[in-house]
């Protein structure tokens, strides 16, 4: 693994200029969407720079399309994905979307091609207020902790960090000034995996199968043979 990278997005510095969104779409050659009212606090629309890195998640994909790169980032291989959209149903952050043009699931790549060329992802590069910071994950953690202390010292008691504990660490830290749900992020205790429902789901099915089959055996039994 080359290095472990991460984002730190300081929402208190965001001015909503959308330079990051433009830079992202330009670099990655993505079509823009029609302007909408209420595009979100950080103007990237759907928190595109979020990165759910939990190992069970990318192992979940049936096609093995989602991998961990040498930068410890999560990446959907467009040549492997077949557009089944199971990952979209699973992602609690609305990070993965379906690309109607290509028929594939799509998420932030961390500008994988730029990382390989030792460049900063386009959004962080374009951000004029350095609201989006990018670097080694350890450095990002330190920067985030410093900034949190600074804001708390200034009396902003609602300031908090998000993304270091959830799902074993998202590799995308957010400095928020309200509860996570207000930003469309699940509470830390709600950061649970879909596979939590496997056992009880199959158990319910198993009990039903047994009851149904026993019932059918009795129903199909002849009662005196002349009914």
């Amino acid at each position: 693994m080359a290095r472990t990278v991460g984002f730190f997005t300081d929402t208190t510095l965001c001015i909503g200029c959308k330079a990051c969104e433009v830079a992202c779409k330009e670099w990655n050659q993505l079509p823009g969407h029609a302007p909408r009212f209420g595009d979100g606090y950080d103007n990237t629309g759907q928190l595109d720079d979020q990165n759910w890195r939990h190992v069970q998640f990318h192992e979940r994909t049936t096609t093995n399309a989602i991998i961990r790169t040498e930068f410890d980032t999560v990446y959907i291989q467009p040549e492997v994905c077949n557009g089944c959209r199971d990952c979209i149903a699973a992602c609690p952050y609305h990070v993965i979307g379906f690309d109607e043009t290509t028929g594939l699931a799509r998420k932030c790549t961390f500008c994988y091609d730029r990382l390989q060329a030792n460049l900063t992802p386009a959004c962080a590069k374009a951000c004029p207020t350095e609201s989006i910071k990018f670097g080694d994950l350890g450095t990002m953690r330190d920067v985030a902790a410093l900034r949190l202390n600074q804001l708390r010292g200034q009396g902003m008691s609602e300031a908090r960090l998000y993304g270091d504990k959830e799902y074993g660490g998202l590799h995308a830290l957010f400095l928020l000034t309200d509860k996570p749900e207000a930003y469309g992020l699940p509470k830390t205790e709600d950061a649970v995996l879909p596979s939590r429902n496997n056992v009880r789901g199959y158990l319910g099915m198993l009990v039903t199968a047994v009851l149904g089959m026993v019932g059918a055996v009795f129903a199909f039994r002849d009662r005196g043979g002349s009914e």
Partner: protein
């Protein structure tokens, strides 16, 4: 309740019909297996009918699933790792397990279909045939129910807030399969005793389905209030019409008309159940 912000996966009509037909195929096979393994010679025509229904319903399933993909030609990526070309199986992903179940069950459904046509010679006679049919029935039951588990193993509202969907879809699938067999048996002018057998079985399945419907709604708690919108209430009315009304009809009236109506209602109700569960979480 866990609160997530997952986007809808846009699983729509192809998936609705897959859930319905997969349930019919798996349920019919299981019924056929019980008749073949536990019944006598007089049950043989109905068992044959069940296997003859199972395969055609199943044959549509992979077509529907493939059409639903963003890249249909890559359907095989569900089973084979596209990079290593090694088989890929993930027990914790119902989609992976289900894809394999579909492949494996289709072998059973195909061979039993040939047997029903009298084309297998002595292959399935004796102990091996019994074992083969029993294992096929287990695969069929899995196919009929896992689709509910697949929905639950997600972070979607409603689907992931309950554990009852696997059982609910299975009970409904058994009911749908029974009603389909009863309808087709009528076309072939079957004896009354066959009709009665099917009805006794469907009564069990409908009661099971009603219990699971209650469990489903209770397990959802306040999340289930989403169903109070008129569009979902209308679909729930169809679901009830496909369960309660057939029960009442068959208790009160005899004869051809009510029997056919009861069967048709079961089919419509089974479809409506899948429509309301699939769409209500996504719209």
């Amino acid at each position: 309740m866990v609160q997530h912000f997952a986007a809808p996966p846009q699983w729509e009509w192809y998936i609705v019909w897959y859930f319905f037909l997969g349930g019919l195929a798996g349920g019919a096979y299981a019924l056929g297996a019980i008749l073949r393994l536990m019944g006598d010679r007089r049950d043989a025509p109905l068992a044959r009918l069940a296997f003859l229904v199972s395969l055609p319903a199943l044959a549509l399933c992979p077509i529907l699933l493939t059409l639903d993909l963003g890249r249909p030609l890559r359907f095989w990526h569900m089973l084979i790792d596209a990079r290593t070309l090694a088989p890929s199986f993930k027990y914790w992903s119902p989609m992976s397990v289900g894809a394999w179940a579909l492949v494996i069950f289709s072998v059973f459904a195909f061979v039993s279909f040939l047997e029903a046509l009298g084309l297998t010679g002595r292959l399935l006679s004796g102990g091996f045939g019994g074992l083969f049919t029993a294992v096929g029935a287990l695969c069929g039951l899995f196919l009929a129910g896992y689709t509910g588990v697949l929905l639950s193993v997600s972070n979607q509202p409603l689907w992931s807030d309950t554990w009852a969907l696997g059982g609910l879809f299975l009970a409904s699938a058994l009911s749908v399969a029974t009603a389909s067999l009863a309808l087709l048996a009528r076309l072939g002018a079957v004896p009354d005793r066959v009709e009665h057998k099917l009805w006794r079985a469907d009564r069990v399945f409908i009661v099971l389905e009603l219990v699971l419907l209650a469990v489903f709604l209770v397990s959802l708690g306040t999340v289930g209030s989403r169903f109070l919108e008129p569009r979902w209430l209308a679909l729930w009315a169809l679901v009830l019409a496909g369960t309660v009304v057939p029960l009442a009809l068959r208790l009160g009236a005899r004869g051809r008309g009510p029997a056919v109506l009861a069967c048709l209602l079961v089919l419509v109700g089974g479809l409506a159940l899948r429509v309301v569960v699939i769409f209500s979480a996504q719209l």
